[in-house]
Subunit: 337 residues, 2 copies
DNA sequence: TTGTAGGCGTTATCAA
DNA sequence: TTGATAACGCCTACAA
């Protein structure tokens, strides 16, 4: 491994001169610069990042935290897509990305801890927001710059990127109402995540604004537990008055719903219209019928999470938020009534 | 940031003593150890990784290379799944993972270069093998331990993890033949990747063994180009004698084929049976009909790529390979003839 | 069992 | 415009 010293020796100058050439310091003669650059080339020199970080206190690396376990995270195409955006933005700025892992909450926290405390990263991006997740306390405690994808509960001094989920759900419900639907069900998703809370909020608001009553009978709360979820879906569909449309907070769940509905003999969209979230590709296009879904632009979410974070790291701005627009992608799972 | 020195001062010992306690050196009295550990706890000490790597020459980090662009890579659920396996194994060994990015071949190589030459990583995993991809020359040139997911062309001295793709394709074709199919088409995939070359090999071998002729008319080479792909598929389906079954080298392509086939009025599996590769979930289950596909265990591929790599890094073994078994997952896209 | 001193590869400060 | 020198935080002979 060739070092700055060896270059210096070969060039007959001091190590500091070489260092200055590397940083393109203005007070080095062009002549020396040229000479030294040539030697660096010849000797195939590359600066040692470790040594550099040791003095500069910066690693040019950001840590990424996925929901534990990474296992589940990757199952949902949302996260790879977010990662893509992060990757791209980081790359643009010459930053590297380090994936934090951990199958349990505890491992997750340990991983974060060692990442930050060991000075492996300059900042951290958390790809989700979950209420009461201890990771956020940890994050504040260890005082590392971070940004969140999702809406945190307490906003002061926190960077985050999010969709306006209230609005998105509102628009979706309005979309259904405009097409003549009056009895609209909801599959909510875990209320531990602000995403789902917000979508619920938008749903309620839209019904209210249009003078439609909220009916708990056609609101399903269960989620990730496949089993309970299916049972609740069935219950909803068989309720005293079957909904003519359902808003679902995640495509993957919507597919389950479609399956359940078909099992019970309902036709989609004739008997039941469905609008869902995430516009998961190619799933939404391939399902039958193709699913009308709300594009939330996970790539942009990731991309902007990096931008915001780096602005803070570079001291250019105070923490703030960035909202990514959403739009409904029309397919075949909704009919007019 | 609390350092070893501060701990030393507080404890009234020398920094080296503290360092020895950290590495649990056997020649430090239990008493001192206990005392110092307590102080470290109190002062919330955490060793600085950069400083440590600077002297130890190890980063406890492995770099991951996805096909450029990371963009496309994540579109195929195969890669997230591989990443999961890598992540898990790395975590088990206390290693971190650094994602290499780059939208172009050139960027990719630069990224790898700075990763390795900057001493950011102890080793590298390449998640694919592409014939003549300059990344591999680069890899050899910079002399970094690495392992590959996929079968490299020259095997000597290279770590790799792979399925036996020849065998897998062979079994798939045999499976179709056993069910009465005699005219079996193939959608090959780019011959730049050994994966696809091998699957083609297995296909040919199976036909040969069973005394069936190879018919170029029902072998489609195009791939990633959506357009040309569809046209070729149509051509195959409309060939002088439509195949009763098709082997497809990637689920995502199989879905395209299904769509094209349906457009042309063919029923699946009644008119055309399909077997494909990757067992992409939940896609394979959700498609109609659900797709019979070959599980290649991407998680295991990733997991073992790490294991092999770390064995080499730790000097425990010579480079070698590891083969991951495959199996056909039976669904509804194949019928008896 | 512990301390001293030098070094890992860079950068930054202060002189020259 | 350049060179010494110290420092970043840690590790490891070599001494004691």
């Amino acid at each position: 491994m060739v070092t700055i010293k060896e270059i210096a020796k070969k060039a007959g100058v001091s190590p500091s001169t070489v260092s200055r050439v590397i940083s393109d310091n203005s007070r080095i003669s062009d002549e020396t610069k040229k000479k030294i650059r040539k030697i660096m080339e010849e000797m195939d020199y590359y600066p040692n990042v470790m040594a550099r970080s040791l003095v500069s206190k910066a690693t040019k690396t950001i840590g990424i935290i996925m929901p534990y376990s990474t296992e589940k995270a990757f199952a949902n195409p949302f996260f790879p897509e977010v990662l893509r955006g992060i990757s791209k933005a980081a790359n643009n700025h010459g930053y590297f990305i380090l994936l934090s892992s951990g199958d349990t909450e505890k491992e997750q926290i340990e991983s974060l801890y060692s990442l930050v405390r060991g000075s492996r990263v300059d900042g951290v991006i958390v790809t989700y927001f979950k209420i009461d997740d201890p990771i956020f306390q940890q994050l504040k405690k260890i005082k590392v710059p971070f940004s969140i994808i999702g809406r945190p509960l307490k906003l002061k001094g926190i960077n985050y990127v999010d969709n306006d989920n209230v609005k998105a759900a509102y628009k979706a419900v309005k979309f259904l109402i405009d097409r003549g639907h009056r009895r609209i069900g909801l599959i909510r998703g875990s209320s531990d995540f602000t995403v789902f809370v917000d979508r619920y909020e938008g749903y309620k608001k839209a019904l209210e604004d249009k003078g439609l009553a909220l009916d708990e009978e056609i609101i399903v709360s269960n989620r990730f537990e496949q089993e309970g979820g299916c049972r609740s879906m069935k219950k909803m569909l068989k309720s005293s008055q079957t909904p003519s449309a359902v808003l679902v907070t995640d495509d993957l769940i919507a597919f389950d719903l479609m399956r359940v509905a078909k099992e019970l003999g309902y036709k989609i969209p004739d008997d039941i219209s469905i609008v869902s979230f995430n516009n998961t590709m190619p799933l939404c296009e391939l399902s039958s019928p193709p699913l009308t879904s709300i594009e939330i632009h996970p790539y942009k979410l990731g991309f902007n999470a990096v931008e915001i974070l780096l602005e803070e790291i570079k001291g250019k701005r105070k923490p703030g938020k960035k909202v990514i627009e959403t739009e409904i992608v029309h397919r075949k799972s909704v009919c007019e009534k």
